[in-house]
């Protein structure tokens, strides 16, 4: 399940719901991305999406992840709008029979969300605003999955 929300959300509550009734799952991995204050350099993060297009693009990659890693299930929640330091930006949960699949799928989905998913991110602080683009590390991270593609 994929959802975008302009309201703060609670990753723990999502994990509680996601882990209910899974007596054949075995392994749940999650990732939570939090807005960083950067020692006061960032006061607000603004996330923009392209409604409809963004969800469809994420769903496509999530279906790929589901097949590639033999996932039982996944959940992706992504904030849009203005986000304060310490607040969750993204939550990804993956469920699989074994832990390697759950970890790898979660890692893969986050790499995708960081550098390929249709979001635009602006940091605002005392020195003004700037748009964030993927770091070199983000490009290197997603390239890992290309070279190991089955």
């Amino acid at each position: 399940m994929i959802s975008l929300t302009d309201q703060p959300f609670e990753p723990g509550a999502l994990l509680t719901a996601f882990s209910q009734g899974r007596d054949e799952t075995g392994a749940i991995a999650t990732f939570t991305g939090l807005a960083r204050a950067e020692r006061g350099a960032t006061t607000t993060l603004e996330l923009e999406a392209y409604p409809g297009f963004t969800e469809a693009a994420i769903d496509k990659i999530a279906q790929e992840a589901k097949a590639r890693f033999a996932l039982d299930d996944f959940q992706i929640v992504h904030r849009v709008g203005a986000i304060a330091p310490g607040e969750p930006i993204v939550f990804v949960a993956t469920a699989a029979t074994h832990r390697r699949a759950a970890f790898e799928a979660c890692d893969f989905l986050m790499d995708y969300l960081k550098s390929r998913a249709p979001f635009w991110k602006k940091e605002t602080g005392p020195d003004g605003s700037r748009w964030i683009e993927p770091r070199d590390q983000d490009h290197a991270d997603i390239a890992r999955w290309e070279s190991t593609k089955p």
Partner: protein, 79 residues
């Protein structure tokens, strides 16, 4: 009249996010936008800017109709 959407830094540069404009093709639309705003022209020409037509990424040119939705998408970054 195609519906034109700008995202991320592109809407900051242009000062608008959505407009209705007349153009027969994506190339013609990009030329029109570039002619009227030199800053936007420069921003649209940067590496990594993609174009979506009716919510599908297109590479190269494509014809537009009156009901087309064209979105200019700078490099993406979520999470």
């Amino acid at each position: 009249m195609a519906r034109v959407l700008l995202f991320g830094r592109l809407s900051d540069v242009a000062g608008w996010r959505s407009r209705e404009l007349d153009a027969d093709s994506i190339a013609a639309l990009t030329a029109l936008l570039s002619d009227e705003d030199a800053d936007l022209a420069e921003a649209l020409a940067r590496p990594g800017v993609q174009v979506a037509l009716d919510q599908e990424i297109v590479r190269g040119d494509a014809a537009l109709t009156a009901r087309s939705e064209v979105a200019y998408l700078p490099p993406m970054s979520g999470g």
